[in-house]
Amino acid sequence: MPLIIYKSHDGNTQEVHAETGTSIMQAAVDNGIDGILGECGGCCSCATCHCYIDPAWVSKVSPADSTETDMLDCVLEPQETSRLSCQVIITDEMDGIIIAMPESQY
């Protein structure tokens, strides 16, 4: 089970071991990490699961599709490595990945 490190906007971190095949959003919700909401349950409709992939890890993550890119274009405080975490599926290669979260999902 890969280790996922969630980093809140004020720098606090929480470490979680997550099953491969689940999403970064689901792992956060299952572990009560409140920086990620995931209101639509992962169907790419809400953008309340916005996160920033640590630049060192971007290459381990599959790219966003066009719906996700369009949504990301309009989130609050987008960054180069912004993703909707429900669309990022955890693989063994992501062991140790750092996921930063925005201050607010609205």
């Binding site: 919700v29 009560g32 209101e39 639509c40 409709s45 369009d70 274009d73 989130v75 609205y106």
Partner: protein, 406 residues
């Protein structure tokens, strides 16, 4: 007595509430009592991805079983609360077991509105609300079989799309003059009618149901005009009613939902309500609302948790909703009721992607965005911030969507 927060109803609002309670520092006991035999699960996929088998039962779980164990949340599932004794501060279960509380949250949601059509007790006739309902429909589905859906709202149309996907013949019967009449502009209704027709669904508007026919198993639906549509499966989706009886008999204020203040608190300061069952004031739209959406269940549950933990915060969230049908991703931000102007961006008459912006007295109040995530996101942000947009710019696709907002 030590602190004990009991949550009645185990669904979207409950799953968020218990998580928020722990995050806000609640150290007392937490119990969820729910009458369905399942851990809180996502209801929206019931008519969408789960219906067509793209999601499994396990995929539906809002949070894993582990989450409740780790957060010391006791789950009493398959158990119904029959009464609240406010004087003694306890709830009474079906089997007369009494459980004391110090704080109580009602997340009892809504149930389907039942219409006593002749024949509605026949095998093969279903309502769509619970996992149990949907699991049973699977015995009656299959390529080449026929389904009739009574009610052309979002859930009815989503189910129609799902049934087409598995190769069934589908008819939708709507009593009003257009589908989605209560919730969208005529342009959006016309769009969905066109798409469903192109996809092979037979949509009958201004059609009344006379009876559901068959011996033991449903065989057809007879309309008021005397014609009968053959059916192996009938799904009735004509709206829901809030589950307020428990609150009402306990003497809590009820008016189209359990009435709560801006802190999700009822007229008893130790009892809270959130989600589909609640009636609350929305400061953005300046009126009382009873919403039926995951957004409201989740966001209001957070507000209730804060109030319970002594950190009250005013509930001020923008309602939003989504609906998936075929390749169409509809995202709705805001409430369109009471609009006096609709601005269409894109081609609703031929394409599969456009946005309908709703205005009231010159102010933007909502958007229905179909395969238009940017329009949805921009509108959601603007409405949350109390901003409007320029209708002329919205209608002009040569202008970047971001430049239409002021």
């Amino acid at each position: 007595m030590s602190e004990h927060c009991i949550v009645i109803g185990a669904s979207h609002a409950a799953a968020q509430l218990v998580s928020s309670l722990r995050q806000e520092g609640w150290e007392g006991k937490i119990s969820i009592v729910g009458d369905e035999p399942y851990l809180p699960y996502h209801r929206p996929p019931l008519s969408k991805a789960f219906f067509v088998g793209e999601k499994t039962e396990e995929d539906l779980l809002i949070r894993s079983a582990d989450f409740y164990t780790k957060n010391k949340v006791d789950l009493l599932l398959g158990s119904r609360v029959t009464r609240i004794d406010r004087d003694a501060k306890k709830i009474i279960l079906e089997d007369d077991v009494e459980v004391p509380y110090t704080k109580l949250v009602l997340t009892t949601g809504a149930r389907v509105r039942k219409i006593p059509f002749v024949g509605s007790e026949l095998a093969g006739v279903f309502y769509m609300r619970d996992l149990n309902d949907v699991k049973q429909t699977h015995k009656f589905t299959g390529p080449g079989k026929s389904a009739v859906i009574i009610g052309g709202g979002y859930i009815g149309l989503e189910t129609a799309a799902s049934l087409r996907k598995i190769g069934m013949n589908v008819t939708v019967i709507e009593a009003m003059s257009r589908v989605l009449q209560r919730v969208t502009a005529p342009e959006v209704s016309a769009f969905y009618t066109r798409i469903h027709t192109e996809e092979g669904v037979d949509i009958r508007t201004e059609a009344g149901v006379d009876a559901i026919t068959g011996e033991q198993h449903v065989e057809g639906v007879r309309l008021a005009d005397g014609s009968t549509i053959p059916a192996d499966l009938v799904i009735i989706g004509v709206g829901v009613l809030p589950n307020v009886e428990l609150a009402e008999t306990a003497g809590l204020t009820v008016d189209n939902g359990i009435v709560v203040d801006e802190f999700a608190t009822t007229n008893d300061s130790d009892i809270f309500a959130a989600g589909d069952c609640s009636n609350h004031y929305n400061p953005i739209y300046k009126r009382q609302l009873r919403l039926e959406s995951v957004q409201n269940a989740t966001d209001q549950a957070k507000i209730a948790a804060k109030a319970i933990c002594g950190k009250p915060e005013v509930y001020r969230a923008l309602p939003w909703f989504w609906s998936d049908q075929y390749d169409l991703k509809l995202q709705i931000a805001g409430l369109s009721q009471g609009f006096d102007q609709v601005v269409i961006r894109g081609d609703s008459e031929q394409g599969r992607s456009f946005a309908a912006f709703y205005f009231s007295e010159g102010n933007l109040i909502a958007v229905d965005a179909i395969n238009r995530p940017k329009e949805f996101m921009m509108c959601k942000r603007a409405l949350t911030a109390g901003q409007s947009a320029d209708p002329l710019k919205l209608a002009d696709e040569s202008i970047e969507i971001k430049d239409a907002f002021n």
